[in-house]
Symmetry: C2
Subunit: 426 residues, 2 copies
């Protein structure tokens, strides 16, 4: 144990996985350094609500160092990791000297991916960071502002057409909330057109939405979306994204706002380590989440490919990342105490949730499936419960309650630049 | 009256003055077009709290069109006015066709000014817009992050030195809140240094701070600032601002965070109109706030120079702008109804308030002067009362209450860019 105190555990990334690892190691006699490119932990499951002006940024993100403030053996550093030197056992940084580690935990997450069409990104942004979310919010709100300037319906149509590509949980949540924004929240705010004339189109290459759920639940979700006024286009791969619209099944669809929710790729951790990876760039880790041949380097969360006990890979969701972070902490503790290592990591699926707008959701706990209003309340309570910090729970709850009863959304701000520059930003 | 309905009143700028004018004209049979470069009305008196991470942006700014939603004769447009054609009676816009007016109200506000040293702006930003505030917040928080990287006190010193130039209300409020941030809120968040070692320096060229108040009140405010740990340097004109510090009385003071609160200049409305202006670029308006020789063009708020009844110019504060907006609406109504014009505009001073950190403030109602904790509560209640929209009042009140009891600040987010780019942003 005495030697433990000298051990230096470096954690890269303060997402769900990295933060959980740091917290479980807090009591352990090791020095911990947490490095993140941003100063805040982001509650990504609610990021789409920032993008759709339902929540202000400050209510789903918190300074990492204040989250870890109580853990005296944790030092938090704001820095950009650019690589790992396996031989020297150091982490390489942008503009700072390398940092040596005894044990390394890489929890660097994922970005959205365009399947070899990175040129689409400026026209079809994805939502992974606070900046993504505020950019998308600006784009959505600006489209309505621009429509108010147009003199006829033809001119307005492209500004009032919102396309979401990809019908996973994020795509469905975006489509549902944008539909509510257009048909409910913004209604009456404009003089030259009816916001209900806006089209919200959810495009999916596969045969159904929310493929991660059972067929009956995804069928229900599709009906719920249509009730909100969302047009669902299935089996429609997108062949091009441009500034003024997309190409779908050979036909051009004019739309000034296109959002990407179709896929993610892991952070470059695999390249840093020159470790074996899957097609999405995720490191293929050992059953104890360490890198093959590197027992002191662990990879967790969206950056890791973990073959589950049942052969099915562990999904890239927050609960999985948290469980992996906690598990790695156990492994490190066991080694310090000279105890036998715990068995291989096993993911416990606590259930799948997805929400469709303000009053509908689907929940699959395995032993029970729920849908509709009750499911929505379960979804809301679960998310508020998981939000870190009492105050934020309260603030988010108040916000949702307010939106729920009044239909108003608080965070409808177009920040950065004035109208002129915003127009150019389009 | 019947002809009234065809009259087109264009208001440029949805600040306190423009918004008040629109609201008072709402019932009147005229068409009103509100044009602003931004989609939100900003409660500027609290902007410094965003800059110092006390309030999130969404709680001091609200979409203009939702504020005016109920007024059916008001159309809100997001657009950048670039000039006025007096002859054609049109407003010129960036990227949109000109808009014709019968009556024009210019309420385009002011920006901070560098007295012929615009090259100082990147090193000493001022706080006038939400973007200014978030940029400054990023800079302040990033300075502490950077200090955590430095290996010795000498390297940390410039990052932990915060200079505020100008000791008017904004400068005092910034200095007091940054001192609290360093000495209280952030305390214990860092491992390599004590945030209380940070220096907060308030620099003023004049002989005393808060010159707008009586000598005893500004003396009290200075003592209160010093209790918070702020160093006050009086009679010290700044002769240079650089990336790494400022030159003060011939000596170089290393500081990585320098904020500008020393002066403002009016928007270019005077140039648009080729109208007589004062040194700060404010249009010298007639007693009825119209432009000399242009009875149908009014200028109000920080863009107007109004010689008060007592000869003293009307101050550039929110209550004055609101009173001017309401007054111009009265003038327009009287003309429509063929009634005699109201007397010349007379500013009613409701009192001056300034706050020094969390528990001290000074209040001068003329008939009574207050200072200390009671004054702070009056300041807080007054500001919450004037915040538009019940929900925001509630949210801000909750926020302040939270900060007051817990010392935590909710909005400590460094957004835009990762550490690497943020560093370059320095």
């Amino acid at each position: 144990m005495t030697t433990g105190a000298d051990r230096h555990v470096v954690i890269v990334g303060a997402g769900f996985g990295g933060l959980e690892a740091a917290r479980h190691l807090a009591g352990v006699p090791v020095r911990i350094t947490m490095i993140d490119r941003r100063n805040h932990h982001l509650f990504q499951p609610l990021l789409y609500q920032v993008a759709t002006a339902s929540l202000p940024t400050s209510e789903i993100a918190w300074p990492i160092r204040s989250l870890l403030r109580g853990h005296r053996n944790v030092t938090t550093l704001l820095g950009s990791v650019t690589g790992v030197d396996r031989g020297a056992k150091t982490v390489l940084l942008d503009g700072e000297p390398p940092i040596a580690f005894d044990t390394l935990i890489l929890a660097t997450g994922a970005r959205h991916a365009y399947f070899g069409h990175d040129e689409w990104e400026p026209y079809a942004p994805g939502v992974k960071t606070l900046e993504d979310a505020t950019r998308i919010r600006r784009r959505i709100l600006f489209a309505f502002e621009q429509a108010e300037w147009e003199s006829d319906a033809d001119g307005r149509a492209p500004w009032l057409t919102f396309v979401i590509i990809g019908a996973g949980p994020t795509g469905v949540e975006l489509a549902g909330t944008i539909a509510e924004l257009a048909h409910d929240t913004l209604r009456g705010d404009f003089r030259n057109f009816d916001t209900r004339s806006a089209r919200v189109i959810l495009v999916e290459a596969g045969p159904r939405i929310l493929a991660g759920f059972t067929e009956d639940l995804s069928a229900y979700a599709e009906r719920a979306l249509k009730r909100l006024g969302v047009e669902v286009m299935l089996g429609q791969p997108v062949s091009d994204c441009r500034e003024d619209g997309i190409v779908l099944g050979g036909a051009f669809l004019p739309a000034r706002t296109v959002l990407w929710a179709a896929g993610v790729a892991a952070s470059p951790a695999a390249e840093w380590l020159e470790a074996p990876a899957d097609r999405a760039g995720r490191v293929r880790v050992e059953p104890d989440l360490s890198v093959p041949g590197e027992p002191e380097i662990f990879v967790i969360g969206d950056t890791a490919f973990v073959a589950g006990a049942d052969g099915k890979p562990v999904p890239g969701v927050a609960p999985a990342a948290k469980q992996e972070g906690g598990y790695v902490a156990q492994v490190i503790k066991a080694r310090l105490q000279g105890k036998p290592a715990p068995g291989p990591f096993a993911y416990k699926n606590a259930g799948n949730l997805a929400t469709i707008g303000k009053r509908a959701a689907i929940v699959d706990f395995g032993w029970i499936k729920l849908r509709g209003r009750l499911a929505w309340w379960i979804w809301g309570i679960a998310h508020i419960f998981f939000l870190i910090g009492l105050r934020n729970r309260l603030a988010v709850a108040l916000n949702w309650l307010w939106i729920y009863v009044s239909g108003h959304r608080s965070a409808r701000l177009i920040t950065q630049g004035q109208a002129g520059t915003a127009r150019k930003a389009q």
